[in-house]
Amino acid sequence: MRTRSLIVAAVCGVTILGWALGRGSEPAVAAHECPADVGVANGNAGVAAVQNGRLVGVAAATAQPSLPTNAVARQVATNGGGAAYVQDRLGSDAIVLSTPDGSRVLPQSGEAYHPTWSVHGAVAWGVDDRLVVRSAAGQRTIPGPEPGGIVFAPVFVGRDVVAAVSAAPTTAVPEDEWSDDFWLLRGARWHRLTAFAAGTDRWTAIRTPFLAADGSVEFVVVRGRGTEDRLPSFSLWRLRGMSVHRVMPLDGERYLAGYAGDGARLWNVPDRATETWLIQRDTPNGLRTVGCGAVAVDPMDVTDPDRTGHAASAPPARSSERVPPTDPGDPMEAALLIGDFPSQVAADVVAQQVTAAYAGSMPVDVVQGGKGSTIVQPDRWAVVVRLPATTDGNAELSALQATLPDYADHMWVVVP
């Protein structure tokens, strides 16, 4: 009777957990080398980009002002012989307009984003929650449609401007991105174009819109969940008129970088091993590297000047710190926790499986969460495998997940 019950329980648990659990595949990682002369290669591809802190691929005659100390160039847009880019500074940024006739540095009053050119030579960019449009008729600043929401990645579509707007933080998502949508600026009025799904966990981001030769706007949509430990999904979308639709899924992280002279799409693909943005173009045989550097994406090989304050002083100590700094204490031990279980008997059964997995070589306990517990919530139970003080538990976590895959999503490193 006992044996038959154990088999039933095991089959039941494995079946249910096997259905409920699952492991994603790793995204493909690009590993190509940049061309020997990136400037020439980018120029041949028809794009300008930031590579190793320098603007490469622009026409030789285009004036380029030197970067101030602690400033970083990013987000380059070209128009014939001209280039516009963000001069990312400590504090408020600047927009640089470089043409064969000279260059102008336009200080901004906040974080600047993604300058873009119209076919008539006007330029638009985002500054915090505002859009700036500069043309022969002058310069105007238009408040964004959502107070506190960042206006970025604008694109001219005829006389109108389409811009992405990132929703302001909420109490549930107090920082970082959670909801982007496209808005159309026609005259002085904003019109919302998209309503992508987003919430406290599921999020949608719009990245790198470009005007295609047919007048549509193509862009990358990234969708993920904040709590998932895998890369989100990437897909190519198209905006035509007032409607959007998905063109195709993408096989990993990449962003649009514009179009080649023959209309082929150009992509920025991260090679994270070398902190390099590759520029690749669509070919019938897949993507082919034609250059390197960050076009509308953010360079990986430089630090945002606004996030370099690591030398700043720390706040004063408080008397609440009770242990003298010279006290070495006892070595801290991590543990693996499998849980949470609604009852002790359920945890006991899993503890038996865990003990068997280690062939009895590791101490395995069942613990109940109490009022002061820092590893299990009250009235829940968990299995704890105590580890030697010499490890942080990361390798042991992966090993136990591989041994007991049905429980893999319910295992954590804790400090009991």
């Binding site: 019950s5 154990l6 329980a9 039941c12 249910i16 957990l17 790793e26 400590l90 504090g91 974080e111 109490t171 107090p174 920082e175 970082d176 991105e177 959670w178 966990d201 904040g226 709590t227 998932e228 430990d229 890369l231 902190e275 994406v297 090989d301 630090t303 945002d304 606004d306 700043a312 706040p315 408080r318 609440s320 242990v323 204490g329 006892d330 070595p331 801290m332 949470d340 279980f341 008997v345 359920a346 059964v349 038996q352 069942v366 613990v367 002061g372 517990s373 820092t374 590893i375 299990v376 919530q377 010499t390 990361n394 976590l397 992966s398 319910h410 490193v413 804790v414 400090v415 009991p416």
Partner: protein, 206 residues
Amino acid sequence: MRILRTRGRSVRAGALVVAAICASAIAHAAGLASASPIDIWVHDHSSDVIKPRPDGLSEIQSTFGPVCGDNANGARSYWPSQDSNGPGYVYYDPYIGKNVGGNIRGHVRFDHKDDAVRWLVGGYNCRYISGTTEWSLHAWGAAIDTNSATNPVGQDHWNGTGSDGKKYGTYLPDVWAGPYPGHKFFWGLNWPNKPDPMHFQYATGY
């Protein structure tokens, strides 16, 4: 892949409960016993726990692995006032597991300062920095936000009001980022242009 705090997690949690019920059907026959929890806080500021803090994207990636990577949320601890509904789990990379789950959480608990913590408290979060193609350090499980509702991005000071309405001064920033005993987190309030008082990260230069 691990999914937390989602409908999917609820399904998975439900599956675990059902599995546990299946298991409990034979538990009495198995005649299993359980151990009592051990309730001792070990305080450790050695280099095995306060590990090297990466500087710059390259070191961040070599230390924490791929962004939104497997088990970047593989360590956890249970925090008071984690969200507006009360206590809950906070997840982060195991590289900082002992420092956060042992030292810092231990300090707060054994200093009897649980009430200094006020929602939202959050760790791992696979997201971009708004408007950029740069990933938040939360996407490596290398940053923790605490008392975020009262310490929003852009606020140039720390609001130490706890969940009980009392003022705790800079107790929490001291524990996370203070020089003594030195848990070595960098405090986002110290970013010069856009202070982020809720934010504590185990990295610099990013």
